[in-house]
């Protein structure tokens, strides 16, 4: 899936990429366009993320099957040197872009968050490091069972 995105978003690197790379509070303004994007691809485009390389140095810990989609715990650790930000996309949510987490020198590139997940979906993470983008994803299944009362 990412492959197709790569080609489409390739041209936007120069224009938007630089915005993300400042160490802290790079997202000086809350990125309305990215948060209103209806697809992961459009969200990435708005954030200037392009050409992310698959990376096994991004570790995503999230439930295979979540007990309640209202509160899905997600841990992301980036083992990529020079990581400056971690962005999270819940692909099947109405607005997939869920947030970006920025780390200054000294902060360990790790974040724990809890998100609403509407239906079973890949959770995609994009890491910015050294002017490049890296990505990994993990599938989360959502269940809501229980009595009819």
């Amino acid at each position: 899936m990412i492959q197709t995105r790569r080609t489409i978003t390739l041209g936007l690197v120069a224009a938007l990429g630089a915005v993300l790379l400042n160490p802290v509070r790079a997202l000086a303004a809350w990125n309305d366009g990215a948060f209103k994007a209806r697809s992961t691809m459009d969200g990435m485009k708005a954030l200037g993320i392009s050409n992310p390389q698959d990376s096994s140095d991004i570790v995503i810990r999230a439930p295979e099957i979540a007990e309640n989609g209202a509160v899905v715990p997600i841990d992301v650790t980036s083992n990529i040197p020079g990581t400056t930000s971690i962005s999270v996309f819940i692909e099947k949510n109405p607005f997939p872009y869920t947030g970006s987490f920025e780390f200054a020198a000294g902060a360990v590139p790790f974040v724990h968050l809890r998100a609403k997940v509407g239906e079973s979906t890949p959770v995609r993470v994009v890491v910015a490091a050294g002017g490049k983008f890296y990505t990994a994803a993990k599938d989360v299944k959502v269940t809501i069972g229980g009595c009819g009362g």
Binding site: T143, G145, C147, G148, G149
Partner: protein, 208 residues
């Protein structure tokens, strides 16, 4: 340790507390307190706290009534079943599947015969039973109904058993945990026919 002993003593029977009143007295006192402390909400009126003879007997005998008591009461329950006037017991299994999936109805915010969302009452069947093969989130309080008709045959006798059991489970097993859907006016005749079809129509996924 001391507490455990006390808990065991108290749990063993209603011995300690009810020596003055006897077990039946404790039950009566509990019911009196519930009737004092509960308030009606919408269709959930106070008469719901008045036990009928089946509920009372099942409480009295801890859901394990002596055979003669069970036989007498079951006979009365069976006699109260209203069979469809047109003699047809099978409705539409597709509708039956929807009714089996739905679990709402008869509670505080619901309307007579309708849920608060305006749907007809559900049968909550999947809450307790395995039924169609597509639903894996089924409960296990009741027996599996998968292949109900296929296993028992599609005779009119089995159809009658299925319809009757849905209408009044207590006519067949006095202290069954299953609600009496017809007896309590929770489901309509058509809904019970649809559920019977879900179990008994050879075309129903239940019987594939």
């Amino acid at each position: 340790m001391k507490l455990k002993t006390l808990a065991l003593l108290a749990g063993g029977a209603t011995v300690l507390a009810s020596c003055a009143t006897g077990p039946g007295g404790t039950h009566r006192e509990a019911v009196r307190l519930m009737q004092r402390d509960f308030k009606p909400v919408g269709i959930a009126t106070m008469d719901r706290l008045k036990q009928d003879e089946v509920q009372a007997a099942c409480n009295q005998y801890s859901n394990n009534p002596p055979p003669d008591v069970a036989a007498t009461l079951q006979k009365k329950q069976l006699a109260g079943i209203k069979w469809p006037a047109d003699g047809k017991l099978l409705g539409n299994w597709k509708e039956g599947e929807k009714i089996a999936q739905r679990g709402r109805g008869m509670a505080w915010n619901d309307k007579p015969g309708k849920t608060s969302r305006g749907e007809s009452n559900g049968g909550s069947c999947y809450n307790c039973h395995q039924i169609g093969p597509a639903t894996t989130s089924f409960g296990t309080i009741g027996t599996s109904l998968y292949q109900f008709g296929k296993a028992r045959g599609y005779s009119e006798g089995v159809q009658r058993y299925a319809y009757g059991k849905i209408y009044n489970a207590k006519a067949y097993n006095l202290c069954s945990q299953m609600p009496r859907f017809g007896h309590s006016n929770s489901l309509t005749e058509q809904q019970m026919k649809d559920l019977t079809a879900l179990l008994m129509d050879p075309a129903s996924p239940v019987n594939q």
